[in-house]
């Protein structure tokens, strides 16, 4: 398959469009053609299950915003003709995870209960992308209300397919984001990361996923899951694009009290400054999953996939060769508590955040002549929410109803302090380790087959163990591709850094990118593109 316009890096598209070399409409044409080639049938809530044949396509998009994209692309071209500044991301095709409200588009959160909701307003990060000249090509699929790590829990079936092998999951909950970018249907995707939901699908789909520091990007317009953990972020095909995108979406917002007022450091200038003198840590706690056996309660240890561990070490070697100091055996003793803490915090917050979906003001309302409002609530929510959502809500009720006696939520918030302290300790420049960042695997395994591991099982839960501590601590995390496994599926490695150190993380990530530019694995394309 030859490289098309839609496969160009975002920063290259922007450059060429701004200089007049390329037209935004040309780029859009290319994207729409690619969509026709790889998308397959439009996901819908009316499909009860999916067919085998569905496992050959990507189905990343819930809604393709054709008209919007055309008028935006034309406006960019018009601005260029008129000698006006079209914005730093002029003509760049972007996809938006359907967890974000975008005015005039169905904003579904992957749920039947919002299937008919046309948002009257647009989320701040999406506004900023559009104001920067980007072209919004559509809203991409996700696990319903972002509850899930495989994108299988959407109300809109068939589920998203991993472009590397569409019979495999793209990861979740930003599965549609990662898949659309990997398949060339967008150059940047706006996603969200609550427990790794940007980084894990990025790793599964061989693309770059950036979770900024909590509060770095406004959450206004992000349909809330776990308010103290949700982080809007980006998925791109390379590190440079992530840097440009961060510049555009980050920053204070009068509509979000938790968006910090620190000015955004432009990461672009020092992207290629290298890693000389940087101190990069490796922690044994990130090379295995520790969890209590469900039967005996004994602590079990399961090593992450060897192929993945090898890539982490290989990356460490690269960085060491480039002048960084690698510090091994960095202890992160509270890592394993990330999951139980996440469990409680996310479910309490999510159950509350989902109270508003009651069929009264917007979205789905159970049809018929119901006489009792309370009954209408029950029928609407029973019909409108999927199983995974109900599970989260009920657990949230259990954990917070017991609040008076057991204080689970408060306890979780205290253990969260311990997790945060693990990071403060290693990043403390007066402390023992003085790290600039921690290098870990993003996920314990590569992508798995659709249908193989489903539901809120223990395995599914603990898979977030490597990504969720970062959400608890609020710190930023970057996942970049680092190779392919024996099945030809992507492997991702992760960099975690102190608060607001996105520029440093991107710098390290870019270094790896440059050092592996000519690697064999970079020449291999996702399976779905090979067949074009």
């Amino acid at each position: 398959m030859s490289e098309q316009l839609c496969d160009l890096p975002a920063f290259v598209v922007a450059q060429k469009v701004r200089s007049g070399e390329l037209k935004a409409t040309e780029v859009l044409e290319s994207v729409l053609t690619r969509m026709d080639q790889v998308e397959g049938k439009t996901p819908s809530s009316s499909y009860e299950r999916f067919e085998e044949a569905d496992l050959e396509k990507v189905h990343a998009f819930v809604t393709i915003t054709r008209d919007r994209a055309w008028s935006q692309a034309e406006a960019v071209d018009q601005a260029i003709r008129a000698g006006q500044d079209p914005g730093p991301l002029a003509g760049v095709p972007v996809s938006i995870k359907d967890i974000f409200c975008v005015k005039g588009t169905p904003s579904t959160a992957g749920s039947k209960i919002l299937e008919s909701f046309i948002s009257p307003y647009t989320a701040t990060p999406a506004v900023r992308l559009e104001q920067a000249g980007a072209v919004m090509v559509g809203k991409v699929n996700l696990d319903e209300f972002a509850f899930g790590s495989s994108n299988e829990a959407s109300a809109f079936l068939p589920p998203v397919g991993n472009p590397w092998n569409p019979a495999y999951v793209p990861g979740g909950s930003s599965g549609g984001s990662a898949a659309s970018v990997a398949a060339g249907e967008a150059a940047i995707s706006l996603g969200t990361d609550t427990a790794g939901s940007i980084r894990q699908p990025a790793a599964f789909c061989g693309v770059v996923g950036l979770k900024p520091t909590y509060g770095r990007v406004s959450r206004y317009g992000l349909i809330a899951f776990a308010s103290s953990l949700d982080c809007p972020g980006t998925i791109t095909r390379n590190v440079t694009d992530a840097a440009h995108a961060l510049n555009v979406i980050a920053g204070e917002d009068p509509y979000d009290a938790t968006a910090v007022k620190i000015p955004v450091e432009d990461p672009v200038p020092r992207l290629e400054a290298g890693v000389k003198g940087m101190r990069i840590g490796l922690s044994p706690d990130y090379f295995q999953l520790k969890y209590p056996d469900p039967e005996s309660g004994e602590l079990r240890e399961q090593a992450i996939s060897k192929e993945i561990a090898d890539e982490v070490y290989r990356a460490a070697d690269y960085l060491s060769g480039a002048g960084a100091e690698i510090i091994e055996d960095v202890p992160m003793p509270n890592t394993r508590f990330g999951i139980p803490v996440y469990f409680v915090i996310s479910r309490v917050e999510a159950a509350s955040n989902l109270h508003r979906y009651d069929g009264v003001k917007y979205g789905y309302r159970f049809p018929g002549d119901e006489e009792d409002l309370r009954q209408l609530y029950r029928e609407t929510r029973a019909e409108g929410f999927g199983t995974q959502v109900k599970l989260r809500i009920l657990m949230g009720m259990y954990v917070s109803a017991q609040q008076y006696e057991k204080g689970y939520y408060e306890q979780a918030l205290k253990v969260r302090t311990l997790i945060r302290q693990d990071f403060s300790r290693i990043f403390d420049q007066e402390g023992e380790y003085k790290l600039d960042c921690l290098l870990t695997a993003t996920t314990p395994t590569a992508a798995f087959k659709i249908g193989e591991v489903y539901g809120d099982t223990v395995l599914m839960q603990y898979a977030d163990l490597l990504t969720v501590p970062c959400n608890h601590a609020g710190i930023p995390g970057l996942s970049i591709p680092a190779g392919l496994n024996g099945e030809g599926l992507p492997i991702g490695i992760q960099f975690l850094g102190p608060d607001f150190s996105e520029a440093s993380l991107l710098q390290v990530g870019r270094t790896i990118e440059m050092l592996t530019e000519d690697a064999e694995w970079r020449k291999i394309k996702p399976q779905i593109l090979e067949t074009l």
Binding site: F117, P120, Y121, V260, L373, L394, Q411, K414, R420, D499
Partner: protein, 106 residues
């Protein structure tokens, strides 16, 4: 091990959550919930200093990074019509729902 979430507790949770479900779904979900309690037990078993402060957000919101409070100024909203337009049932600009019989006075 005796079930922690009994049928009674489960029904109460369903009530709190304004949901309803048939036997099959109820059984499935209740089983799942009980399985997942392992995570809760794990949390309970963690030993730590009880005077540890809570962390509401990972990032500490010091005065330096916290945005200022909103100025008391009226910002008229232009989306009122669209918002009302999203209501499943509307009449003279009111949003219409069935009544709650239990609220009537004796």
């Amino acid at each position: 091990m005796p079930e922690e979430i009994t049928r009674e507790i489960f029904d109460h949770l369903v009530d709190l959550a304004a949901l309803e479900m048939d036997e099959e779904e109820a059984d499935y979900l209740r089983k799942e919930l009980n399985n997942q309690l392992d995570a809760i037990h794990e949390l309970e078993a963690i030993e730590f200093d009880p005077s540890t402060p809570v962390t509401s957000h990972g990032v500490p919101y010091t005065e330096a990074i916290s945005s200022a409070l909103r100025e008391d100024r009226i910002e008229p909203c232009k989306e009122a019509d669209e918002i009302v337009g999203q209501a499943p049932e509307e009449q003279d600009r009111y949003i219409v729902v069935p009544d709650i019989p239990a609220e009537e006075l004796q």
